[in-house]
């Protein structure tokens, strides 16, 4: 079972605004965003640099708080949660894949994947992490440290880590941005395989129209606003 059992969309945003920076450097990044994403849906988010894609992703993942508006994820109003509750919520319901992988350099691949499970108090964290790593084809590399892995392998570890807690929502921020084309394709295949197998809601931020086209729906952002959306 994926995430929250309540009915309704996986993510519901209404009137979301967000500014960042201080004083004169303050920039209004997200402007009046309204967006519903259904459960199990795959969304591609595209737009030029600085359009607010990553920031919107952070808001949906509970990593950034909106200044105004409503952010509901799996029915939970994220605005009502404090920092620690948000952290716990993320740990259980949201898997994140970063462009720069962000593996913990002092931990092996296996330990990296086990981290969210251990944080959530899963008893057999190591076994489940091992299963996830096998699922992304890294059964032989479990005891390797991030620096001993190639970029593609590191991103596969990151995907295994994101999927390990079986999250309701999987967000990926330019997951192939630091990879060559062939490796990027493998990574995307893995992401979509995970999404389909587990019926996870997938939100993919990308510059690549072809990649976005693999999603069921594409949302275009421009200058912090939704500039259009529709089927890929």
């Amino acid at each position: 079972m994926n995430g929250n059992s309540k009915a309704g969309p996986a993510i519901a945003l209404a009137g979301v605004n967000l500014s960042l920076g201080e004083g004169a450097a303050r920039v209004h990044i997200l402007k009046d965003i309204a967006l519903n994403i259904g459960r199990g849906e795959a969304i591609g988010m595209v737009g030029p640099s600085g359009s607010g894609k990553s920031t919107l992703l952070m808001v949906m993942a509970g990593l950034e708080r909106a200044d105004s508006g409503s952010v509901r994820v799996t029915g939970e109003n994220l605005g009502a949660l404090d920092e620690d509750a948000l952290a716990r919520f993320r740990g259980r319901h949201i898997g994140i894949v970063f462009q720069s992988f962000h593996l913990i350099p002092t931990m092996t691949a296996l330990e990296n994947v086990a981290v969210p499970l251990e944080l959530a108090g899963v008893a057999d964290a190591q076994q489940r992490a091992a299963q996830e790593l096998s699922a992304v084809g890294l059964a032989e590399r479990m005891q390797h440290y991030p620096t001993q892995l190639s970029g593609g392998e590191q991103q596969r570890v990151a995907i295994a880590r994101a999927l390990a807690p079986d999250p309701a929502i999987l967000v990926a921020d330019e997951p192939t941005g630091n990879l060559d084309e062939a490796t990027g394709t493998q990574i995307i295949d893995l992401l979509f395989a995970g999404h389909q197998r587990r019926a996870t809601t997938l939100i993919l931020v990308t510059h690549d129209p072809a990649l976005a086209a693999r999603c069921e729906r594409v949302v275009r952002l421009r200058s912090g606003r939704i500039d259009g959306e529709g089927p890929a």
């Binding site: 990553s54 259980r92 913990i104 330990e111 944080l119």
Partner: protein
């Protein structure tokens, strides 16, 4: 596959922070060496001082019977115990009687030297043995043989008078033959500092010498060894109470084996406290290094922390992980410190045992070791909790390329509270466990103020740099910008260098003032000689003799008695709570005098001086500061035991004295009628207007020894040399302990500069890419370090001098004179070291090729 459990915890959850922390540390302790070294150094200092002091206290306790010379010791000044008292004491155990006094030993060639004469009976020593060279019994050495008394002497006396065993010396009116050198005297420690070498004779020889005159300064000591079945602590305490009850007016100083050497124990405690404070300073300076190490570790782990939070770790859990690491590291540093500190007493006795005249009993001191470990842990927590608290709020947004979320500079209130709580615990612990709580409180306050001041100095420097007019020179502009830019090294350098220089200057100034006080030039008006034990009847003749001998010199002569304050202000002396400055007056017999005029060198500041022919009830004039320290005022009653008689006097006036003149000063002065008819002696001082030459002084010593054999001549320079030697040892201890602190400061400074290395490489590469030459960069760094170093040095010199002035004038009650040259020289050295260290660190940064660094930015 099911969703993860919603209930974290269980056994695995509890140990999660520890597991994650240890996982991170698997790669080794790189980056933490300075952290560990800082804690280890401080803990070593505190554990070492505590262990050594503990071992010494154990040794004193174990040797207490030997040091005291029995189970119970009763001391009388001027007079012997009466037959009833002796009879009572002899009925309670084995009794031994000794008499000690200062006297002059005159060799056949006319040379004379001050000796600490000790006359002993056949029972002496009750415990232990006197070791002699050549090997013989004490009885044999001091026995009368063919009408000549024997003696044993300290080797120093033989060297001083160019004598060898078999030669004779004259003591008073008796000739004695020195038959052996004393190589070990069991009860030597209970006496304190001696101004001359020991000469031991029989009681009969002393009586034959004629030195025992009414009022002469003889200390009679009665030692009692109890039968084994009656020697437990309770019976000993009962016996002491019984002695006091039976002979309430005896006026003797009673010591039991449980306080065999109270003065020495007090000094050990006082010095231990001082060294512990120096050790604590080392720990506090090291704390800065701990804070820096934790901050740079967490800076390096920012991405990891953000990642963990993205994966569901709460801020509290993140802090728990890194707090665990801090505790583990502090424990490693503390353990190293414990081992090093625990070894110190063993090492000291092993290496210097033969040179130290103290019974150090090297042993593990678990209490001291645990305490120093706690100090280490608390210091680490105090300095680490701030950066740890900030890690709580590392934004996850840091992981996204266009995130610009800033991190707050202050941690949450809970962490600030924890920092304050740990610092308070450190403060409370160091005050509660200290010997002198007032000194400890001053130290804690001064330490807190210094930290605060140094932070303010750093903030001020950064503010000045920020608002300084834009320099036209690019190099200067870069240097100034480096001082105030975010993540600048300014606060750390100011803190470590400032503390280092302040401590260095404090130690140098105290050191210099102590040496000046006791070993350098004497005050111009200081006398060259003190003459003691001038018989009352001979006082006039002696005065005339000296005037003939040194017509140009100033002669002062006063009657001298010894007395003990037994009650003051209606309270028994043992129940009085004197201030630190005044306590010494109650600790033993004090010299006192009588006069019908205000003594030279003092003036009445309160009350009235009695008239020249005062015949009323006993009055007394009290030194003002001591009276205040004892809580006394004009009109209060004071009871003083003189020659076994309690004199109940009323304070008539208070006087101010110039102690440093080394003139004849007395805390207590009575009207002449108080002691009319009482046996006493006189003392005199002789002061040459030009300070006197060695030849003049030598002539006086020889002449007085020849014509007045019972008068004791104390050459002030010799007495000050004896104290100077002791001060030299104290200063050595202070220097050794301070070196630990300076080492810690150096470590912190080095660590801070190393931590800034990454920024330097980045700056250097970017600036080189933009066209800056290496020479230009080096100049910029040089100016930056010089500006920082000089500004910090000014603060360090000022605060160090202030601390030295406070300690010298307020705690030690000595005059303070600022020595500019050594302070400035040391400061220049410290600044130069900082600049060199800084430049060494940046030199490799300058050599970096831009391309590889830029690719990895």
């Amino acid at each position: 596959m099911s969703a993860v459990s919603l209930a974290p915890g269980g056994g695995a959850g509890r140990w999660l922070a520890a597991r994650f922390a240890l996982r991170e540390m698997r790669g080794g302790l790189r980056g933490f060496y300075i952290f560990i070294a800082c804690i280890a150094l401080g803990v070593t200092a505190i554990a070492g001082v505590g262990s050594l002091a503990g071992s010494l206290t154990d040794g004193l306790a174990r040797e207490s019977r030997v040091i005291l010379g029995g189970d119970l010791s009763l001391g009388l000044i001027h007079r012997e115990a009466d037959p009833a008292q002796i009879g009572y004491l002899a009925s309670r155990g084995t009794l031994s009687t000794t008499a000690s006094l200062r006297a002059m030993a005159r060799a056949a060639d006319g040379n004379a030297a001050l000796v600490e004469l000790k006359a002993v009976d056949a029972a002496y020593p009750l415990i232990g043995a006197v070791r002699l060279q050549p090997d013989m019994t004490l009885a044999a050495a001091i026995a009368e043989r063919d009408g000549v008394y024997g003696a044993a002497a300290d080797p120093t006396l033989l060297a001083r008078l160019d004598l060898k065993p078999g030669d004779g010396v004259t003591i008073g009116n008796a000739s004695v033959e020195i038959r052996a050198e004393i190589t070990g005297e069991p009860d030597r420690l209970s006496i304190g500092i001696g101004f001359g070498p020991r000469l031991m004779v029989s009681e009969a020889a002393l009586r034959a010498s004629g030195l025992i005159q009414p009022g002469s300064l003889v200390r009679w000591q009665y030692r009692l060894a109890l039968p084994e079945h009656q020697a437990d602590d309770r019976r000993l305490s009962d016996l002491r109470a019984d002695v006091t009850r039976r002979f309430p007016d005896a006026g003797w100083e009673i010591r039991t084996r449980t306080n065999a050497s109270p003065m020495l124990e007090r000094n050990v405690e006082r010095f231990t406290q001082f060294l512990t404070i120096v050790g604590l300073t080392a720990l506090l300076v090291g704390g800065v290094g701990v804070g820096n190490a934790v901050k740079s570790h967490l800076d390096r782990r920012r991405e990891t922390i953000a990642t963990m939070k993205a994966l569901g770790a709460t801020g509290t859990r993140v802090v728990a992980i890194y707090l665990t690491q801090v505790i583990v590291l502090a424990a490693i540093g503390g353990a190293i410190g414990l081992v090093c500190g625990a070894i110190i007493p063993f090492a000291v006795t092993g290496l210097f045992g033969a040179m130290i005249p103290l019974p150090i009993e090297p042993a593990l001191q678990p209490g001291q070791l645990i305490l120093s470990f706690i100090y280490g842990l608390l210091t680490a927590l105090t300095f680490a909790l701030w950066p740890l608290g900030r890690a709580h709020d590392v934004p996850v947004g840091a992981l996204f390329r266009d995130a610009v979320a800033p991190q707050p500079a202050w941690p949450r209130r809970g962490y600030i509270g924890a920092v304050i709580a740990c610092a308070a615990m450190l403060g409370v612990l160091s005050v509660v466990l200290s010997y002198d709580k007032r000194v400890a409180l001053v130290y804690v306050g001064a330490a807190a103020a210094t930290f605060l001041l140094l932070r303010l100095v750093a903030a001020g420097l950064m503010a000045i740099a920020r608002h300084a007019p834009r320099a036209r020179s690019t190099v200067l502009r870069m240097a100034v910008a480096n001082i105030h830019r975010p993540a600048a090294l300014t606060p750390t350098i100011v803190l470590s260098l400032g503390l280092g220089i302040a401590l260095l200057v404090t130690v140098i100034e105290i050191d210099g003032n102590l040496r000046r006080q006791f070993t350098a030039a004497l005050p111009e008006k200081a006398p060259s000689f003190y003459f003691l034990d001038i018989p009352s009847d001979d006082a006039g003749r002696f005065e005339g003799f000296l005037r003939g001998l040194a017509p140009a010199a100033k002669l002062e002569e006063v009657p001298l008695l010894r007395g003990r304050i037994v009650a003051a202000g209606g309270t028994q002396a043992e129940n009085l709570k004197p201030s630190q400055d005044a306590a010494w007056v109650l600790q033993s017999d004090r010299g006192l005098t009588y006069s019908d005029v205000v003594p030279v060198g003092s003036r009445v500041v309160e009350g009235q001086w009695w008239g020249p022919d005062y015949e009323g009830p006993p009055l007394v004039s009290f030194e003002q500061k001591i009276a205040q320290g004892l809580g006394l005022k004009v009109g209060d009653p004071v009871t003083v035991n003189v020659l076994g008689r309690n004199i109940n006097a009323t304070i008539a006036n208070l006087r101010k004295l110039d102690w440093e003149s080394l003139g004849i000063n007395f805390v207590l002065v009575f009207p002449p009628n108080t002691f009319r008819g009482a046996p006493h002696t006189h003392m005199a001082t002789l002061t040459y207007p030009d300070g006197g030459s060695a030849a003049q002084e030598s002539a006086v010593i020889r002449a007085v020894a020849r014509d007045f054999p019972t008068v004791t001549t104390v050459r002030v320079k010799d007495a000050l040399d004896a104290i100077g030697g002791l001060i030299g040892n104290l200063v050595l201890g202070i220097r050794a302990a301070s070196a630990v602190t300076l080492l810690a400061a150096g470590l912190v400074l080095g660590g801070a500069l190393a931590a800034g290395h990454q920024h330097r490489v980045y700056d250097a590469v970017i600036l080189k890419t933009l066209g800056a030459t290496r020479r230009r960069l080096l100049t910029a760094y040089l100016i930056e370090y010089l500006l920082l170093g000089v500004a910090t040095a000014v603060f360090g010199v000022l605060s160090g001098s202030l601390a030295a002035w406070l300690i010298t004038s307020q705690l030690m009650n000595l005059g303070f004179q600022w020595a500019a040259i050594p302070a400035i020289a040391a400061t220049c050295g410290a600044v130069a070291l900082t600049v060199v260290l800084g430049l060494l660190g940046t030199f490799s940064a300058l050599g970096q090729k831009p391309a590889p660094v830029l690719r990895n930015l």
